[in-house]
Amino acid sequence: MAIDSNFTYTEAYLACPECDLVHAVPSIREGEQGRCIRCGALLFVRHKDSLDRALAFAMTGLMFFILANMFPLLTFEMEGRSESNRLIDGAIAFWTAGYWELGIVVFIFSVVAPLAVLLVLITLLLPMRLGKAPPSPQLQVRILTHLKPWAMSEIFILGIIVAFVKLQDFADVSVGLSLFAFVLMVAATVMAYMTLDEGALWSRLKEIQA
């Protein structure tokens, strides 16, 4: 592969983020993907209507996030007394028990980061859908990249399942409406990430700003 190294910066080539090997950016069709020939890392993806779909999934996710915060996740009953919890109650419980570090960690991982991911996606993609420039696209993309590993909703769901199983042993537990909303929120967020094609994002931004 002959590479013209006379560029200031280029979108015609791409270096693998995991092994640094330079690849020419191919013109692949929608639904196709390209992997690094040396280490196998995923390099390119193209999705049909990527930005519109990602926006639709993000907005769906936000709707379910709001619903997930309105009702109990689990209800626990013992000897006629019951107690239920909402999404944010875990963080609050750690905080009030004196484990404020864990309160903050759980609050960020299960509430703040998942919500922020959806809000950043929407404030990035909705203006673009309307043909306007987002408030600060560069910063928004960077925030999204850095937030991603800390939004742990899908792991929180497994935490709920384990808690449910543990409680079943000595009391009556029932699943609240919010749990379903929360699961759908996670599914929508995952779909938003999977359909979002950053290449399409940057080229659309260029069109808008031109």
């Binding site: 910066y9 280029t10 979108e11 280490c39 689990l74 013992m78 963080a91 570090e101 991982f109």
Partner: protein, 213 residues
């Protein structure tokens, strides 16, 4: 360089860590060390990768001990208290016949943290010893390690749900234990350790032979 091709580093170019734009070294030297597309700081390799990963791994290794020795939760029911460590929680699930859940918790809370520390130690050492064998397998190991790390938070979320839910004073109460703080710290430190490690360093040893070409 064999059939392997050209790396950004060998071109003197930098690949943006956030958006992947390929930027020439002369651009970053003449203009600014920030990506023209996404404005992230540009580096050829993650800054101080080896030192940071080492420091985070050592801290995680030290905290791994209190995370497993101290209890993570206490259940008081009808005046009877049961205290669980991370491993104790798994054993209790086995005793109550919840094998599938027990396996999930064991993998996420016991196997993943130790596997992650061991895998990253091996990767850091392999880079420092300029090991050339099986770079692709080592990159896969890194990708896997980075992917699984977050899942260890299951136990912390489970504890947060139990203490929020089970607070019927005389009947049943769950309280958190100090082991939970150490455990969460291990998970977060190893996540940072995986983030600061730069898998491209695995491949840099391969290019060294060809420098004199």
């Amino acid at each position: 360089m064999s059939a392997a091709g050209v790396t950004a580093k060998s071109l003197g170019a930098l690949s943006c860590h956030v958006c992947g734009l390929l930027v020439s070294g002369s651009y970053s030297a003449a203009h600014s060390a920030r990506c023209p597309r996404c404005d992230a700081a540009l580096h050829s390799r993650k800054v101080n990768s080896m030192h940071r990963t080492w420091a985070l791994l050592i801290a995680a290794g030290v905290l791994y001990i209190p995370a497993n020795v101290y209890p993570v939760l206490t259940l008081v029911s009808f005046g009877r208290a049961t205290t669980n460590t991370i491993m104790g929680g798994v054993i209790e699930l086995v005793h109550s016949g919840q094998i599938v859940i027990a396996v999930i918790v064991f993998v996420a809370s016991v196997f993943v943290p130790i596997f992650k520390i061991a895998a990253l130690l091996f990767l850091v050492l392999s880079v420092q010893l300029r090991m050339k064998a099986r770079p692709r397998a080592r990159t896969l190991l890194y990708r896997f390690t980075e992917f699984i790390g977050r899942w260890s938070m299951i136990d912390i979320f489970m504890i947060s749900i139990l203490i929020a839910l089970v607070k019927l004073q005389a009947l049943a109460t769950v309280t958190a234990g100090p082991g939970a703080i150490a455990f969460a710290a291990v998970v977060i430190l190893t996540m940072f350790a995986a983030m600061t490690f730069d898998p491209r360093l695995i491949w840099d040893a391969e290019g060294e032979d060809d420098d004199g070409r």
